[in-house]
Amino acid sequence: MKAIARGHWGPAGVAIAIGLLLLVFLVVPVVKVVYVAFQHPHTGALTLINFIDFFRTSLFQESFFNSLYVAIMSVALSSAFALPLAYFTTRFNFAGAIAIQTLGIVPLIMPPFVGAVAMLLLFGENGSLNLLLNDWFGVTIPLMRGLNGVILVESIHYFPFILINLSAALNNIDRAMEESAQNLGASGVRLFRRIVFPLAMPGYVAGASLVFLKVFDDLGTPLLLNVNNMLAPQAYLRISNIGISDPMGYVISVILVAFSLLALWTSALALRGKDYATVQKGGGGLAKRDLRFWEKIGCYAVIVLILLLVLSPHFGLFILSLGTIWSFSVLPDAYTIDHYMRVFSTSSEYITNTLLYAGLAAAIDVVLGTAIAYVVWRTKLIGRQWLDYIAMGALAIPGVVLGIGYLRTFYDFNVPIIDKPLASWWVIIVIALAIRRLPYALRACVAALQQVSVMLEEAAESLGASKRRTVIRIVVPLMSGGIVAGFVTSFATAAVELSATIMLVSAESDAPLAFGIYQYMQSAAGRGPGAALGIVAVVIVGIATYVSHRIIARKESERAPELAIAVGV
C-alpha cells in the first residue's frame, strides 16, 4: 500500500510543480498582455478603445495587411519550392533523393534574419544577380524590394516545414491505395487529383499552417531588411521606442496570438480524424517509377535550381564573412579572415552566452518534456492533459509577445540577492528560450515514451522496482534517443532565437549570438563580422544537428530488435 501511495504522490507533486512553472512563466505573462490590450490606457477600465484606435491608424492598417500578405505569399512561394522536391523524390527512382531531402532542410539551421543581408547582396537592387542582369540584358528584378524581400527570405527559410510534412505524407500513403484506383481504371492526373493529393493534403496543410504562423510572427527578418510596416516590428518598435505602457504593442500582440491560434486550429482541423498516415500490411509507400532520360534532365534541372536558390543565403553569408568590401559588385573585392579574428577576439562573449543560454534552456526543456510526457501518458492524474495543452500552447505565442509579457510582468519583481528586476536579469532570457522551445522537446519526448511498451515498465515493477526506480532505470534510458533529439532541437533553435531575446537583453555583456549578429548587421562596416558570427551560429547548429542524428541512429540500431518486439505487442 505504501508503494502505491508513493507512486501516486510523486507524479502529482511533479505535475503541480510543472503546472506552477508554466502558470508563472507562460500563462500569467500572456494573460497580462491580453488584459492590458483591453484596458483603457488612462482609466484602466475594460474597453475596446485600443483596438478601435489600432484599426483607425493607417500605419497599423497597412502593417496588418502587409503581415497578412507576406504570410500568405510566403506560404505560396514555400509551396512552389517544396512541392517539386517532395513529389520528385517520393514518386520517382532518383539518384541522390536522400541528399536532396537533406539539403532541402538545411535552410532551417540558419535563422532567417542572418541570411537576409547575404540575400540583399546577392539579389538586392545592387546585388550580384541584378548587376549581371543589368550588364547582359539591361533589366533588373526587384526581388528584395520591400515586402518582396521579406517574402523571399521567409520562404527560403521556412519551406522545409512543408517539404518535411508533405514528403512524410506522401511516403506514408499505402501503395494499395494507389493500386486499387489503377485497378478500377484511374491513371495519370486523375489518379493524382482524386487519390494521391487528397491523401497527402493533411500533411501539406500541417506544413503550410506552420509556415504561415512562423512568418506572421517573425520579427528579425523584417527588422533587418528595414521593413517596419508590419505587425511584429511595429509591436517591437512601439515598446522599445515609446515605452512599456503604450497599448498598441499589446493590441498587436493579441492580433499575433489570435492569428497563430487560427493557424494551429486550421492545422489541427486538417489532421483531425484523418489519420491517413497508416501504411497497412502489404503497403510501404507509393510505387516509385523510373524516369526517362529527358524527364530526368528536367527534374534535376528544377531541383538544382531550387536548391541553388534556397542555399544561396548560406553561400552568400560565407562569402560575405570572408570578403573585404562587397558593395556594387558581383563578388567581394578581396578575401580575408579578419572578420573571424575580430569576432573571436572582441565578441566571444556572444558565443559563450549563447552556448550557456541555449544549453540551459534545452536542459530545462528535456527535463520538463520527459516529466510532462510521463505524467500525461503514464499516470491517471485528473487534468493531466492540460499540462500538455499549455506547454504546446507556447507554439502559438510569438517571441515578441512573450518578451512584452515578461517585461510587463517581471519588471516590478526584484530578484533578492543581486537586487535587480527579474526582467533584466540574464536568467529571464534562459527562461524565455526554455518556454519557447518546450513544445519541440516535449513532442520528441512524447514520441520516445510512446515507443516504450508499458510492459517493459510492468516487468520492472513486478521485479520489485518502485515507480521512481522504474522511471530512472528503465523509462529514461529507453527514451534517451528521443530525449537527445529533443535537447538538440531545443538547443539548435534556441541558439538562433531573436524575437524574444531582443526584447529581454538589457546589457551588451548578457547578449547572445543572434542579438550580436543583429547589432553588427545594423551598420555596413559590421556586415563582415556579422556574417562571420552568422557562420559560427550555423556551424554550432549544424554540428549539434549532426551529432544528434548520429546518436539517434546509433541508439536505434542498438535496440531495434527489442524495441520492435515491445512496440509490436
Partner: protein, 363 residues
Amino acid sequence: MASGAGAVGVTIEDLNLSFGSTAVLKGIGLHIEPGELFTFLGPSGSGKSTLLRAIAGFGPEPDGKILIGADDVTHLPPWQRHVGMVFQSYALWPHMTVRSNVAFGLEERKAPAREIGDRVDRALDLVGLLSYADRRPSQLSGGQQQRVALARTIVVEPRVLLLDEPLSNLDANLRVEMRREILGLQRKLSLTTIFVTHDQEEANTISDRIAVLDEGVIQQVGSPMQLYDEPSNRFVANFLGTANLIDGDLREIGGKAVFTAADGLSFPVEGAAGGATRGCTAMVRPQSLRIAAGRAPERGGFVALSGNVEHREFLGSVIRYSVRTGEHTLLVDETHQAGQPPFGVGDAVVLGLESRQARILIE
C-alpha cells in the same frame, strides 16, 4: 452484374519474373477455366501474390504471356485490364465515403450518373451494406470494410476477380463466415475468381482447383482432394496436411510393385506402375493408419507394424500418436470417442496400413 455466359478464362504461358536479380516466378504455365474459383496456395515468399499482381498489372513487367479470355494483356497498364482486385489491406480510401469508394470505378468509366447511383446501390445491397453508404471507411469494422472492398470491385463487372489474402486481417469466426460469403457471391455472379492464400484449410473449402506454389514454381495443380490424396511431391504432401514420409525403393517382386524402406519395412503398392525405382518416398496420412493393442494377425491388403507409443497429443476429434517402429517414427490419428481410454506412452501397439492408402512419390 456479370453473368455466367460472359465469364472468361485466364491463361498464363511460360511466365518469368524477377525483382532485380532475384527470380520470383519461374516458368509459370496455367489455364484457369471461365467461372472457376481458382486458388494460388503457398507459403510466404512462394510468389503467389506476385503472380496475382502480375495478372492485375502491378510489379515489374514479366516475360511470358498473360491472356484474359483471348486478349493478351501482358503489356497493358493496370487501368486497361478490366480485372478487379481486392487488396489484403482492403485499400479503402479514407477521404471518401463508402458510396464514393464504390462509385469510383464507374466514374472512371464515365458511366451516366443515374446508372452509377443504381449500380452502387445494388452492389452495396448485395454485400448487405446499403445502410452504411454514407459512412467513412474508418467507421466500419474489419468485416464491413472487406465487404465494401468487394462491392467496390464487383460493381465495375470485372472480367476476372482477384482476391489477395482477403481474409487474413479478420478474426477466426469472421473468416469462416466471409469465405462462405465470397464463395456464394462468386457462384451467384459466375465470376472467374483467383484467390491467394497461405492457409490450406481456406483453400480447400473454397476452391474448385488449387495451384500450389513454392519458390516461384508451380508444384502441382488439382482439386483440393486430388492434392491431398495424390500429392506429386513431398512439399505438396506436407503443405496440404500432416504426412508420414518414408524413404525407400520401389522393387518389382513377382510381377508386383513392392515398396521397401531401409530397415526392411516393406509393403506391396497398388497402382504404382513403372517398375523398379530407386530413391522414392512413400506417403501415408496419419488417419490411414490403424492403431491397436498387442499383435494383430496379417490380413490381405494390410501390413502390420509393431511399435511403441512415444508421444501422445489430444487434438479434440482425434488423438495423434507418435509411434516408434523400427527406424521410423510414424504419426497415427485415431478418432476420439468419449469414454474410450487412450494408449499410454510406452505401450506396445500394432499399426495397420491398408496398402492402397500409401502413395509413392517419385521426384
